[in-house]
Amino acid sequence: MKDLMTPDLSAQVGALRLANPIMPASGTFSEDLSDVFDLDILGAHVLKTIMHGKRDGNPTPRVCDLQGGMLNAIGIPSKGIEDFRERMLPYWARYGAPLVVSISAHSVDEFARLCAEVSLPGVAAIEANISCPNIEANGKAFAMRPETTHDVVTRLRAETDLPLWAKLTPNTGEPVEVALAAEAAGADALVVANTALGMSIDITTRRPKLGNVMGGMSGPAIKPIALRMTYQTAQACSIPVIGCGGIATLDDVLEFLIAGAAAVQVGTATFQSPTVMARLVAELSGWMQAQGVTALSQIIGTVEAPAEGLHE
């Protein structure tokens, strides 16, 4: 009775077992989504990146529309570490899904200090946003080079016993080297990837459409780039890769799993359809059941070699 069996959707990300492989991407999710569906159906809860002090974030306009996606230059508005400890952590304790805390900083020291400070009971994993293109001038970030990646991940590793995820950037010519550097420095998983640096100009006013001039591109338009990096890093590394970038449909989820992702994050798609993650969990289950696929291991990393030529 293969096709009547309930498939096992659980996803293994290093030591962490998730009920299913669908989780939100940092910055596109908050408690506010509980207005729309029960957040406990998600594989994990990934919070907006926090930084140590209080920060306003970037000037408005902070987002703009693109064909097949959007640009954002939100920056990292942050209420600081106290707000996290006193308001957010207690709030998220009500859910069973593991809580992943995304952190960032301008310097390695600050990053390491924050990492130690958020390593608290109730936190299931730390996601190091070493790739946010808005933090430093001209969009440079730690994850653009293997050396800076190795430095920062080594320091973070020393500060926490929690699973440590490194979130990579597509804005590099060396994604594989960066991924290997993060792995060598002790990261438990890779999140692949953050936004691609882009720009848009309003031709009527001749002004950039973002207050910050440049910003991060997300949504379906970047999916082929994120998928390529997921494939490259999953081939090169032995730690799990969490795919992220443009995922909006069940086909997208399957595409990333087949490419080698152990789980996926859904960002911008939630803006188009706030119910999308709930739908994806149900659709994945339905698809596995229909296909007689009992576990994600039968999907993950099963990409085949290309067909030779195109002969009928």
């Binding site: 999710f29 908050s30 207005d35 306003d56 408005t60 306009p61 987002v63 188009q272 706030p274």
Partner: protein, 280 residues
Amino acid sequence: MSLSPTILSVPAPEGLSARCLEASAVVVSNTPVNGEYRLLVLDAPREALNCQPGQFFQLLCPAPEGEHPFLRRPMSIYGYDAEAGRLQFLYKVAGAGTRGLATLRAGDSLNVLGPLGQGFSMPEDWQNLMLVARGVGLATLAPLAREAQARGRRLTAICSARRPELAMSVELFRDYGAEVIVVHDEDGSSTPEALRPLIEARIAKGEVDAFYTCGSSRLLRLLQDLGRTHGIPGEIAMEQQMACGLGMCQACVRPFRVGERVIQRRVCREGPVFPIAEAM
């Protein structure tokens, strides 16, 4: 021209909005109301219609030929009727998204998300209401008129426009028992200098407990000034570029002055209605 927003007979609950719904609505009609605006009437699931005046929906606009709007577009609720399952928006064709909305024909479906945000409040001691607005701001305030009537409040509506015939919702406000004053640019009656004595005369007669406004920063500044001078509270519905509409992305922040401090608030979540005194 009479635009008739239909409003829930039972007043909506105050305070935090209920859960919102992502739902598919069916277009009943989508017709031009004057050169600039169109009225979209939808048949929407009742569960999405537990609305308050001042709240908004996020509409997933269809793509017009050759354009590709991606994000949802926020639109104030112009009218709602939970019993009839009706939801109305009054919109101005501005860019790709609203051009897409304009292509909708009766029978088409439209994905809507809402109701979103915090609507206008109407505490018991606000008995004499004054509404001062301009342009599409008048549409955003339209649902207030029926709400005011339902609650037995007295409403004066100052409708500002470029030309008198462009003042929107005038008959609607009259239908709901408001006193309407049309001011316009052509005779100079719409300038803050001209409006100030007009409003101050009413204040002097004790006819203004609170202001509502939307759609003009000149009017906002005038009402802030009058509010400060005469101790009159009020609310404003504000706009900002949005992505999620739910409070998650922090795209839609605006600065507000709260005491000595300037703080950022999300228009989609803490707003779109804010105290006039705090708006910047």
